[in-house]
């Protein structure tokens, strides 16, 4: 009798310590997760709140709006985007909107062109056996993918010279072409992966029913490949929206994009924290919205073909 009680006790004790260990592990896991979430979010939070601070608030290191400082539209006023200046004319706002428009046109144009060319190539490489000299499909795919390793700096200066001759310098069409070539390898890779995951039987049935190869592609395959197309488009948009190196070298007064505008503000006029913060916030806000809403597609795009 006594011995049973002892073992029961022991079992109870070990169950208790197991439980304690479980709780400790949980606390550790969530602690690390929350810490990293803080690391990810703090710079964004800092930038957003700084855009509502005035000089003393910045210097005294106030962090929490309403609690230790009173928010003010200062930063946004300097951009002409605060409620009281929104309907007045503002040259800074015009400049900002123009740069934002340029960014939009360049990244959207480049991404759409890359998705158009890349989808075709991806489908061809996923379905038809090609031979180009000694190169087979895998070699051709690798040839496209290998352009990823090309650093922008290698193409930048030849492009500077060639674009000067082509009258493409400081023009949006020129920038669209650059962004297309920059994201094309990734787009081809994602689309090839997507097309390979579509069962071939559907296309065979369509062909038997008398559709041409191109008819099958447009009417049967493309609608099925929509998730891949969205993933490729979003990733391409993010990469070209953030692009700085080419834009800094190849554009000037007319075609300058938002990152170049942000960069040009940091150096010159000392640091007017509030307006820089407002400008940075405006530049990253669209991407945060995209990231929160379309996270699934970004992850799909990033992992395409990398994990087998």
């Amino acid at each position: 009798m006594a011995s049973t009680a002892v073992t029961d006790d022991r079992r109870f004790e070990s169950l208790g310590s197991q439980r304690a260990r479980f709780v400790a592990t949980r606390i550790l896991i969530y602690g690390v997760l929350l810490l990293w979430a803080f690391i990810c979010l703090f710079p964004i939070y800092w930038t957003l709140t700084t855009s509502f601070k005035s000089a003393p608030d910045v210097m005294q290191g106030h962090l929490v709006p309403f609690v230790d400082f009173t928010p003010d539209w200062k930063g946004w006023r300097s951009l002409g985007l605060s409620p009281d200046t929104l309907f007045e004319t503002s040259t800074v706002r015009e400049e900002f909107l123009k740069r934002m428009g340029n960014s939009l046109v360049a990244s959207l144009g480049g991404s759409l062109l890359a998705v158009a060319i890349g989808s075709l190539a991806g489908y061809g490489l996923a379905r038809f056996p090609y031979r180009f000299g000694p190169m087979r499909n895998n070699d051709i795919s690798f040839f496209f993918l290998s352009q990823l390793i090309l650093p922008p700096v290698v193409l930048a200066m030849p492009f500077l010279v060639l674009y000067k001759e082509l009258a493409f310098l400081d023009s949006l069409p020129g920038l669209v072409l650059v962004y297309t070539l920059m994201v094309l390898p990734i787009v081809i890779w994602i689309m090839r992966d997507q097309f390979m995951s579509i069962p071939i039987e559907l296309e065979e049935a369509a062909l038997v029913d008398g559709l041409s190869i191109w008819g099958t592609f447009v009417r049967i395959v493309l609608p099925l490949a929509l998730p891949g197309i969205v993933a490729a488009l979003i990733l391409a948009l993010v990469l070209s929206w953030n692009e700085y190196f080419f834009a800094a070298l190849l554009t000037g007064a007319t075609a300058k994009t938002l990152p170049v505008m942000v960069a040009s503000q940091t150096g010159s006029q000392g640091i007017s924290w509030w307006s820089m913060a407002a400008l940075s916030t405006a530049a990253i806000l669209p991407l945060i919205v995209v990231g929160v809403l379309l996270e699934r597609y970004i992850i799909k795009g990033l992992t395409a073909g990398a994990v087998k």
Binding site: I29, L33, L120, I149, W214, E295
Partner: protein
């Protein structure tokens, strides 16, 4: 581009559409016309540029258009001449023509530029100067300094990988609000490096008012300065770049973890292996191929590092944070010599290609040997 009989895994067996003789000759006609037009426009402009003929276009733009007209004529001609086979080729040809015009040609043109002395803002124009640029490159301590920095930055990838692996394991664990954490962890990757330069480099790491400086003072560092000491500056740049790119590695590893065979992990648990043992004996080895892919992709991105350095330190102090890209960028901005800049860039490209090729060969062999060894083990 020719298409052969189907011999790759998934391919079609289709009934060839008959191509009549008239269609074929029409196709040939289109290709010949396109080629002639392109050649004529090219010749016209070359003669004008060389000063032989007096008339020409104001810019080379028409030649650019003529190239794409020629490309279109080749695609159309292929379809008319070879029918079904031509239609197949038409899928991949646009990408090929685009790549040839905008990647291969500029890179090759760059190789030519590398052997010239060409100051874009000067009046002299380009002069062929043989191997002068290569000799100058060889004796340029700042360039070698930038290359050495790339090695340091490259080695830091392994730390990023370790952090990313830890985060991926945590995200893969049975946790609440998984989607929330995944989105939050992904956010830094979405932000533009230029904005990050200001948000983190110029404001959070500002020496007087920045929160990072305040924290450092709190921890006992009296006069925190993140960009004056060479090693601390390098570390600061690396921290910012890591902040942006750890999500990329993490997402790749997370996808790998989710694809792991569940039964194997379950079996290990039933056999009484501790989580630590399970990780090192099963998870980590199985993740090796994904890990290598993730690290290689990350290194490729790391080798392009420029934006943050250009905007935060401009390579300083004394070139300590310079990357090859930021160095060439500044070299061009200061002296506008495209010849020397291109020589530096092309040399860098060749170094990268050699490095990546060796890395691919070594890791492929390593992984295959490792997995056979494990297979033998299991038997």
């Amino acid at each position: 581009m020719t298409t052969t009989s189907p011999n790759v895994g998934q391919t079609f067996e289709t009934v060839g559409v008959g191509t009549s003789a008239s269609r074929k000759s029409l196709g040939r006609l289109i290709i010949i016309a396109g080629t002639l037009l392109f050649a004529a426009v090219l010749l016209f402009q070359v003669l004008y540029a060389a000063g032989v003929s007096a008339s020409g276009f104001a810019s080379w733009r028409p030649v650019f258009y003529a190239y794409f007209l020629w490309a279109a004529s080749v695609v159309l001609g292929q379809i008319l001449i070879r029918g079904e086979q031509g239609q197949r080729a038409a899928f991949v040809l646009p990408a090929v023509f685009f790549t040839v015009a905008l990647v291969i040609f500029p890179t090759a043109f760059g190789l030519y530029l590398a052997f010239t002395d060409w100051n874009l803002s000067g009046s002299v124009g380009r002069r062929f100067n043989g191997f002068d640029n290569i000799v100058a490159l060889w004796n340029d301590p700042f360039y070698w300094n930038a290359l050495r920095n790339m090695v340091y930055y490259g080695l830091a990838v392994f730390f990023e990988y370790a952090i990313a692996f830890g985060l991926a394991v945590l995200l893969n664990a049975d946790i609440k609000a998984q989607r929330f954490f995944r989105i939050v962890f992904l956010l830094p990757f979405m932000l533009s490096p230029v904005a990050v330069s200001w948000m983190v480099g110029k404001s959070i790491m500002e020496n007087r008012f920045g929160p990072a400086a305040r924290l450092a003072r709190l921890l006992g560092w009296d006069n925190p300065a993140f960009f004056t000491d060479p090693w601390i500056a390098r570390l600061s740049i690396e921290v910012m770049d890591a902040w942006v790119f750890i999500p990329l590695i993490m997402i790749l590893l997370l996808a790998g973890l989710q694809a792991l065979p569940k039964d194997l992990l379950e079996a290990a648990r039933v056999d009484g292996a501790s989580p630590w043992q399970t990780f090192w004996r099963i998870t980590f080895p199985l993740m090796l191929p994904v890990s290598i892919t993730a690290i290689l992709i990350r290194i490729i991105f790391k080798l392009k590092l420029a934006d943050i350095v250009i905007n935060v330190t401009s390579g300083g102090p004394g070139g300590a944070t310079d990357t090859v890209s930021s160095f060439i960028y500044r070299e061009y901005r200061d002296r506008s010599n495209v010849g020397y800049g291109t020589a530096l860039a092309e040399f860098y490209l060749i170094a990268i290609v050699i490095f990546i090729t060796i890395a691919l060969l070594v890791t492929t062999r390593w992984v295959s040997r490792y997995s056979t060894a494990r297979a033998v083990d299991r038997v």
